[in-house]
């Protein structure tokens, strides 16, 4: 049996980089930060380094406190609502900033991104096919 999906957008990424790395702009009012993050279907949340939240002007600890498990332990992060521009979409979403400034991972996970877009992946060509859920 064959299955078909239709996508409205095509975004290329550098298949030579470790992980599927894409540009992300997070913004708050008129303040924006550009960073690189890895698409991670194994992560529950979109989580960024503390420094990016601070540079946006957020009081990190005023967000929703959550614990995030990893294969080697866990860390605390705080969720804040921001506007996230990623893969040609502008999304108002809750994203997390790590409490510990030494955590240097930036990932795009399920909540806030994968829960609202359909994604097709051709990794050897560095291509992501995308549609927002419900988009023609």
């Amino acid at each position: 049996m064959n299955y078909q999906m239709n996508f409205s957008r095509l975004v290329s990424y550098d298949a030579g980089l470790p992980g599927i790395t894409v540009d992300v702009v997070i913004s708050l009012i008129s303040n924006s930060i550009t960073l690189k993050a890895k698409l991670d279907t194994g992560s529950t949340n979109c989580t960024f380094e503390r420094q990016y939240g601070e540079r946006l002007g957020l009081d990190i600890e005023s967000g929703e406190r959550i614990r995030i498990g990893t294969p080697t332990g866990s860390f605390i992060a705080y969720r804040h609502s921001v506007t996230m521009n990623v893969l040609d979409y502008a999304l108002d979403v809750g994203v997390c900033f790590a409490e510990d400034a030494s955590i240097s991972r930036n990932v795009l996970g399920r909540l806030g991104l994968l829960d609202r877009v359909n994604i097709g992946l051709v990794d050897y060509e560095g291509k992501l096919y995308l549609s927002k859920y419900g988009e023609e």
Binding site: I33, T34, G42, S43, S81, D115, R116, Y133
Partner: protein
């Protein structure tokens, strides 16, 4: 910046080794991206900026204070007004459309005992 200063900087760049030039190039590219991001950021009058920030804070406060009640569900909010709920994003977004609110905030409410996961 004066033409002289620019020429001086260009000459100084010539003294750098290849790796340092690559680092400088990377730095300039990042700077240009930041500038582009700032240029494309929504430019709203001060009154509108304040309204946007008030709405953002209302959404954040609502999400934080309703984890017991709505944890594990998606909600659609208009400021601090609940428009509807759903078990996934499309359902909650549909509730917002039904309420005729085009810029509703739709997101997942974290349950009180929520623990996220980040892959290896």
């Amino acid at each position: 910046m004066s033409v002289e200063l620019l020429e001086t900087i260009k000459q100084q760049i010539g003294v750098l080794n290849k790796q340092q030039q690559a680092e400088l190039s990377q730095f300039l590219q990042e700077q240009m991206k930041q500038d582009a991001a700032r240029a494309t950021a929504p430019c709203l009058p001060p009154g509108d900026l304040e309204a946007v920030e008030i709405r953002r804070r209302q959404h954040a406060e609502w999400m934080k204070s309703h984890r017991e009640e709505y944890g594990g569900m998606y909600v659609a909010l208009d400021g601090d007004r609940l428009l509807g709920t759903g078990k996934n994003y499309p359902e909650a977004a549909a509730a917002a459309r039904q309420a005729a609110v085009s810029n509703a905030y739709v997101d997942f409410v974290l349950p009180p005992d929520y623990e996220g996961y980040m892959g290896g």
